[in-house]
Symmetry: C2
Subunit: 203 residues, 2 copies
DNA sequence: CGCATATTCTAAACCGGATTTGGCAGTCCG
DNA sequence: CGGACTGCCAAATCCGGTTTAGAATATGCG
């Protein structure tokens, strides 16, 4: 399910570019930012380190392309899933679906999303800076979800939605730092996250 | 308040080592992992890049030393604060104090803690791996806090404490990714985190 | 088809930054 | 004072990202 798989009627270089992107996503997801050599990516893509420069300005630009595809992929997956819910679904249901989709997509389904999760924090500050508008857009979508829930009276009125949104995404994003397949399923984790977020931990 | 400031009756090299550590913490906290040159640290410490190798095996070992001091500093600050609470304080009070202290210390008080927060995610995987026992020990302390709260009946019995602990630390750690001084105070943020964690967001 | 040109790729050179090396200057005893 | 150790510097080396020169391949057109 390579994000970059439509090899048809395109310039040759386009196909190669996509091959390199796929390879980069896989290698970055597996080895992280610092441990990944351009030569590793080149090998995985069946070419040479120097050749990458015909398709990308620099290692940084390559990383940024991978990150961008990762964020937009998760964003679309979440939005699609939420919009596919039966109309009239509660906002709690919508938020739970969003949490679960984000987790599932980032943890298991897409090398770009996995690479994005793993790399974003590892990457030099200036790269993060240039990605920030995408994250903001995604954050904006969550803000709307939360606002909808509040307007509908499903969450308290006294909370700062910005802090709340960052708190939720923080808990979700942190999951990738410790999640290992087996033991707890993604659905279980998502369910507990949603429960405690809504109902709190107090007895 | 340099962590490394007891220059007395120590070998000369000991003093230099501490000077380098302090310099490294400040530079790493300011510039992040990838943007920091050994020569930057050397300059800040009043020596030369090559000389660092007399005191540390490698750049990695230097980073690890900084990270270690960062974690242990936060750990001690949190424990000290919690233990200083009046006996009989509620577990909710204790957890709130822990959250606030962690945030305050990591965000503003100590270059080692700041460097640790900023660097931990940026650092190559094998370094993170070697730090994991410290994080586990700190996590263990939080687990005990949570267990105490549960035993005292202050939090629900149906929650998986591991997930809960990671959720809380996730939300707290994520804060450093977006916190900017001004606007909201650390106390305010800590307060809302504690409130929503305990009481949830449901109306 | 067959050439002219543009596109794509390779191999080797280059460069900055981490690491290693060799040796020099103190210092600490006897 | 002489020998051995400690702490440090300057230069050499190594590694991986980047640039370059040009070879190989594709594309467009008569």
């Amino acid at each position: 399910m390579a994000r970059a798989a439509a090899r048809q009627g395109m310039r040759k270089s386009e196909a190669t570019r996509l091959r390199i992107l796929d390879a980069a996503a896989r290698v970055f997801a597996r080895r992280g930012y610092a441990d990944t050599r351009l030569s590793d990516i080149a090998e995985e893509a069946g070419t040479f380190a120097g050749s990458i420069y015909y398709h990308f300005e620099s290692r940084e630009e390559l990383v940024e392309a991978v990150l961008t595809l990762g964020v937009t992929g998760v964003f679309e997956a979440v939005r699609t899933r939420v919009e596919a819910l039966p109309p009239g679904s509660s906002h709690r249901t919508r938020l739970t679906a969003a949490i679960e989709t984000h987790l599932a997509f980032a943890l298991t389904q897409d090398p770009f999303a996995t690479a994005n999760q793993r790399l974003f924090a590892q990457v030099p500050a200036d790269i993060r800076q240039r990605q920030i508008h995408l994250h903001r857009a995604y954050g904006e979508y969550w803000r709307k979800l939360l606002e909808g829930a509040r307007r509908a009276g499903e969450i308290r009125r006294d909370l700062d939605l910005s802090v709340l949104r960052l708190q939720i995404l923080g808990a979700v994003n942190w999951t990738v730092e410790w999640y290992k397949p087996g033991k707890r399923s993604i659905e279980q984790i998502a369910a507990q996250l949603a429960t405690t977020i809504f109902d709190g931990i107090a007895a």
